[in-house]
Symmetry: C2
């Protein structure tokens, strides 16, 4: 027990050569190895507690059973965990491990990171961004197989997976429509991110389809934060013909909208229904009443990305796939039917 057994030890114990032992353990070489021999090798390995040395194997096969995970900011967004977790689980399932690098978004850093991974002969790379983004694939990637995670290229040259923002938006809007709302406002951020663009566009279409003017129902906050949501909601809710429901860009802004409603004496959901996006663990379920929100499928995206990557390792010339991951709605208590007379007098 003092020393790791090597393949040679197993071979000797089973009375075969290392070549035979290798093939027996790896089920390789087709029908070359006899049933009985294979058994003998297997039991010998088990008895010795043999574990193959992945490094030595890698030197020979040029594969490491490791996947590089290059993130632009693993730490600051609380979502990151679920993305990593999804990728991790899918990798583990297939006998792979995740080698992590965080680049802080810096592009020189990204090049270095990819080089560091290639030095270690990772079999493929996940290029992850911590929020939905359109990016260029870094040059350094060369011919290393890769999949974009929560990001995509403009041209679709690489496989990628991003949230189906449009679907998620329609999902939460349907919650409101079903409850009887048509005057649905939107509180969003001025930051020009992909998520804003897609959620805003989808909402615009939706209200326009009801013959309403989106411009009259839109309010922008200076950032996608609670104060941003508060300020925007205050403006929106003070309008004479205020909406009976609000679709928020995300949960953080929704926090601010809740505060604005309280400030104005509007009760949720009786006077105002609210839906949102992101379904953040520490916000949506913790607000009172619970916030109905479209979930960002980070776990699923992580998992999908690894599976797609592994598939591409098998068939390197496969066409790139651009996947939209559904955003399921977490239904809570922030939605009710509109009041018969939806225009509640405001004191302020």
């Amino acid at each position: 027990m003092t020393k790791q057994p090597r393949l040679a030890d197993v071979a000797k114990a089973a009375g075969v050569s290392t070549a035979t032992a290798s093939m027996a353990l790896n089920d390789t070489g087709g029908s070359r190895i006899g049933r009985e021999t294979r058994e003998r090798v297997r039991t010998a390995a088990a008895e010795l507690g043999y574990r193959p040395n992945t490094v030595a194997r890698g030197l020979r096969t040029r594969r490491s059973q490791m996947i590089g995970f290059v993130g632009d900011d693993v730490a600051t967004t609380p979502f990151a965990g679920q993305m990593i977790r999804g990728a991790h689980d899918a990798a583990r399932e297939a006998g792979f491990l995740l080698l992590m690098v965080d680049t802080t978004g810096d592009s020189a850093e990204t090049g270095e990171a990819i080089a560091a991974l290639q030095e270690r002969q990772i079999d493929g790379v996940l290029l992850a961004t911590m929020y939905h983004q359109v990016i260029e694939v870094p040059e350094a990637i060369g011919s290393t197989p890769h999949v974009l995670l929560d990001a995509r290229t403009a041209h679709g040259s690489s496989s990628s997976v991003v949230p189906d923002e449009r679907g998620g938006t329609l999902g939460v809007l349907a919650e409101l429509t079903t409850a009887g709302h048509t005057r649905i406002g939107h509180v969003t951020t001025v930051e020009q991110v992909e998520a804003r663009r897609l959620r805003l566009a989808t909402w615009s279409e939706h209200v326009a389809a009801y013959g309403l003017d989106p411009a009259e129902l839109l309010a922008e906050g200076t950032g996608s934060t609670s104060p941003g949501g508060f300020a925007a909601a205050m403006r929106l809710l003070r309008r004479p013909d205020r909406p009976t429901a609000i679709f928020c860009f995300n949960d953080r802004m929704a926090m601010g909208v809740y505060r604005a409603a309280a400030e104005l004496g509007l009760s949720i959901p009786d006077d105002l229904s609210i839906v949102s996006y992101d379904d953040q663990e520490l916000i949506a379920p913790e607000l009172v009443p619970g916030l109905t929100s479209a979930a960002l499928p980070h776990y699923d995206m992580g998992q999908w990305a690894v599976r797609e990557l592994l598939r591409r390792l098998g068939e390197p010339d496969a066409e790139p796939v651009r996947h939209l991951m559904p955003c399921p709605v977490s239904r809570r208590e922030s939605v009710a039917g509109p009041r018969p007379f939806h225009s509640i007098p405001l004191e302020t």
Copy 2:
């Protein structure tokens, strides 16, 4: 550019043997290599864009420049990111990469994870728990160098780093004391975790030192959640001689305490000062008013753990070190002096 150059290519280009090239690049072999030769090799390597093959090197040196990060739940706690980030940065600084495994806390899984890491010849392992815990080091670790992160053993047989819960508690209590409070209540959870034990004990000592009976100022919630904090705070604040300030077990419970205060018509901080623990990004600064809270130094702990691990790789027989990481207070607006007549009449 079509093929990665090998050390042999560099050697040939510089007109030396691979051995010389190796030593020149690694600054090894002492004064063996001439200044001029070294230069020549270096430029040749640079021109070819040579990157050493870490796998081949690892096979020879039995070192991989990788550190295993074994976590019991990377995903579900939002803190995890900062811990990983701290470890990552310290590792990167020294030319190491992090190989991540998540065990979901399962002990069979942990054994498998460690084995998978050892197969890949990681140089050392970080054993991380996602909240402060006392654990047994898994058998599987064998003689692999390791450091415990946010965890410690009962006997101190391994190097470990955990938050200084006592120091952090004294820190936030000092905020209250300085503002003039003596009747400081504590809202905690019934869950028997290390953090509860240490924070509770420290607070008890503190109020006892002022001649107060801790039992009269303590309320427990059924879990360390917002509803748990709400229920506990309601009980505590309805007592005839209610505290003028509350120290909360953590920020999530503090959220509930805020709601309870609102419910009872108590304004924060004028009628009630609040301090807390954890300093969670999405809670403490987002609450209104901002919550004064002792920060869990996850980044610093991650960083420390890697540095300690690297140190141990150098001197394997060094005495294990058990480190307490300070928890700095994030000062916000939830603390003010007590009212002259602190007993505000309550309607309820």
